[in-house]
Symmetry: C2
Amino acid sequence: MAKELTSRQENYSQWYNDLVIKAELAESSVVRGCMVIRPYGYAIWEKMQAVLDRMFKETGHVNAYFPLFIPKSFFSKEAEHVEGFAKECAIVTHYRLRNDENGRGVVVDETAKLEEELIVRPTSETIIWNTYKDWIKSYRDLPILINQWANVVRWEMRTRLFLRTTEFLWQEGHTAHATREEAVAETLKMLQVYATFAEQYMALPVIMGIKTESEKFAGAVDTYTIETLMQDGKALQGGTSHFLGQNFARAFDVKYLSKEGQLDLVWATSWGVTTRLIGALIMAHSDDNGLVLPPKLAPIHVVIVPIHKTDEQLTSISEKALAIKKMLENEGHTVKYDGRDTHKPGWKFAEYELKGIPVRLAIGPRDLENNTVEVARRDTLEKKVVPVEGIAAYVTGLLNEIQKNIYSKALKFREGKTFTVNTWEEFRDVVEVKGGFAYAHWDGTPETEARIKEETKATIRCIPLDNPAEEGKCIHSGRPSKQRVLFAVAY
Amino acid sequence: MAKELTSRQENYSQWYNDLVIKAELAESSVVRGCMVIRPYGYAIWEKMQAVLDRMFKETGHVNAYFPLFIPKSFFSKEAEHVEGFAKECAIVTHYRLRNDENGRGVVVDETAKLEEELIVRPTSETIIWNTYKDWIKSYRDLPILINQWANVVRWEMRTRLFLRTTEFLWQEGHTAHATREEAVAETLKMLQVYATFAEQYMALPVIMGIKTESEKFAGAVDTYTIETLMQDGKALQGGTSHFLGQNFARAFDVKYLSKEGQLDLVWATSWGVTTRLIGALIMAHSDDNGLVLPPKLAPIHVVIVPIHKTDEQLTSISEKALAIKKMLENEGHTVKYDGRDTHKPGWKFAEYELKGIPVRLAIGPRDLENNTVEVARRDTLEKKVVPVEGIAAYVTGLLNEIQKNIYSKALKFREGKTFTVNTWEEFRDVVEVKGGFAYAHWDGTPETEARIKEETKATIRCIPLDNPAEEGKCIHSGRPSKQRVLFAVAY
């Protein structure tokens, strides 16, 4: 195999980087911390976008577009937002280049300095609520249910492809409501949309929950999250949905006239997922041979490879392959036929395993005689010879089975890595040795939370929704606790 | 009518601005020169994107994503690019904010200064060709056929919603080829894709042609364009496709090993259309009552409005309306039923005329009795009472007819505004008084071109493809000319 990967066992982190590069999903760009998303990686993002966009529209949302730049002063308007939000961001200070006097290219024109610096959006609450101020006069203007697909920039010191990059792509929903109840319902509705997307499309089981005070979004009243588990036992936050209360309405003075004729502050939510989900998809399912993609998000569902010795064989096989391709396409599948004679079948097999194509069909001279194909499924690497007759229905069934199997496998993995721990030793054993989720008692104070993080790197991923009440003792301080919360070391 | 527009006659420019704002397509943002694209305007962009994206993929292209930021030094690498390309751009110089010592918000952290400034992309040739350098080794790696959907920034002093804004949305295709012939063919293929899109979807007739030296893209060998005519007689460039020769390959040292084992520079194209097309769509077809949208790009095809006096009437009409809505949706149309009793039918009629919904159905008590609906078409404002039986097929036919009619009207308008002129007086009469396209002889020199522009504001929009050879005298210099070129005052 030309493009051998580091194994997960040997070095999980290196395996991930190798895989992203060798499967041609993305690469680091010359601009520090920014990535180039290559066509195959971008095709996965397009699949994700199409599903999410449909789900957003089915839940009543519309798309819009707000400016890339935000005036610096906006960041000071919502107190917690400015305090809590990372101040690492890209700052535009000038608006013109000029030719260098020495003829050595271009330099910044110092006379073209902005009066107020502009920040490349790290998130858009401030500019959007400043706009909503003009759109909202009365209860008739509510709710506003808007989503934006955009790029955002957060200056990161340590970056990893997809997981943490200075620029990334995302969607950010920003909704405005007349009542607290409606806004809370919206927050939870979108959390559920994310959970459904993760489980049904990404084949990734999630735990829905609420963040602690110290982990929540700067400016939010409550941050809800979907938490997932990767194969190295680390957690990854898949998406967040924030109930913002009236914080941004207060900061930007957004009030509405209620039915009763009263002037009230508007209630807000925001919610987002990013290209980070591609990183989660890779890390959750893939193996030492390469990507394992759930069929619902795979850019190509089926690849057909001819096995031949002579040119005549290739001609006959190609004819058969193209007929099968047509049958599968009529079922709605995306199919690639790789009839190149510049590469050997073995090379192609390895290549498409690396790329995670869910189903591979191989057709050789004997298959032609018997009117059969060899079907290989990527998730289990099992092979089976199958009659061409009924192949479309067979592949459709197989793709559904693969989708389910990938989910089941991930769920089983998570179950095997989820522990209920009662002592500090047990806790450390999970988060530092075994890896995985630890359900543990916590005394509810940010001080204890901070100390646990300092000592073990583990954080409270969330307080799961519908968490059962249970009396217990904090694993760290020994003080009384009323419920277990979910700990893990996280990406 | 609550939202009366300035008439086109009275003030075309004001009419356009009024329309963009009142139809809730877009508005100026607090950030100078940047717009907010509102949901209704963005829905038109989504329709455009969906069609174009399909056309790009059908012609073999894939999408990818490259960084928002470009190192300043990249702009100096291609000599014409840096000379010709506007130097007005957003420059990122710092990467951190800090709390102001006086507690008055945030200030730029001067210690976080970038070693090399980053430019917010005004176009991506440089960063993309710097990346292609690593992707291209041999002829087997070619062609590369990539498109990117992205936001770009060009610092504009005078802006107009959609037509010229500091930030705008666009797509930029960047392709790499082994031969000159292949790159030229690609350039022309994409020009044809743009022309087809404009004519068949935007209902906008175009003239395809090549730009003169002074109007071409900085760094291109040849720039091809589709030119359209607006209702005020001014031309608007709808999209461009550039044959870049080996200029960017030379600047970024991108070579490939040919089949013959020779190291050659790679050939390039780039091509793009922007949110400006929304401006063209508005200005080409709309009238004093509001938008006129071609059905193929209209976010909503049909609106149904009940006409009632009593609540019982509304109930019966709603039932009928929703049944009709269902029938139309089964035909693939997007339908809105506006059963609100907070607004009168007359208000709704005006509102949906403003929004350019191609077909309006009104249902009153008499229609219920007769099993009919009143059908109004937006393009001609004609009304007709039609039986409910067969309504879906009727509306489908009507939408097709509206699409064709809008195109025919625009074509007829352009024909009436296209003049063949032979003298300077005739030329000035067209470009300064009548408005429209003037086919005129030109001596082929940039000096004459510049003088004509200075004296009349008219520019050479293009040298049309397949332009007939014709001996003549330049309308300005009187020197010999071998062909007529297309002049107009342009947006």
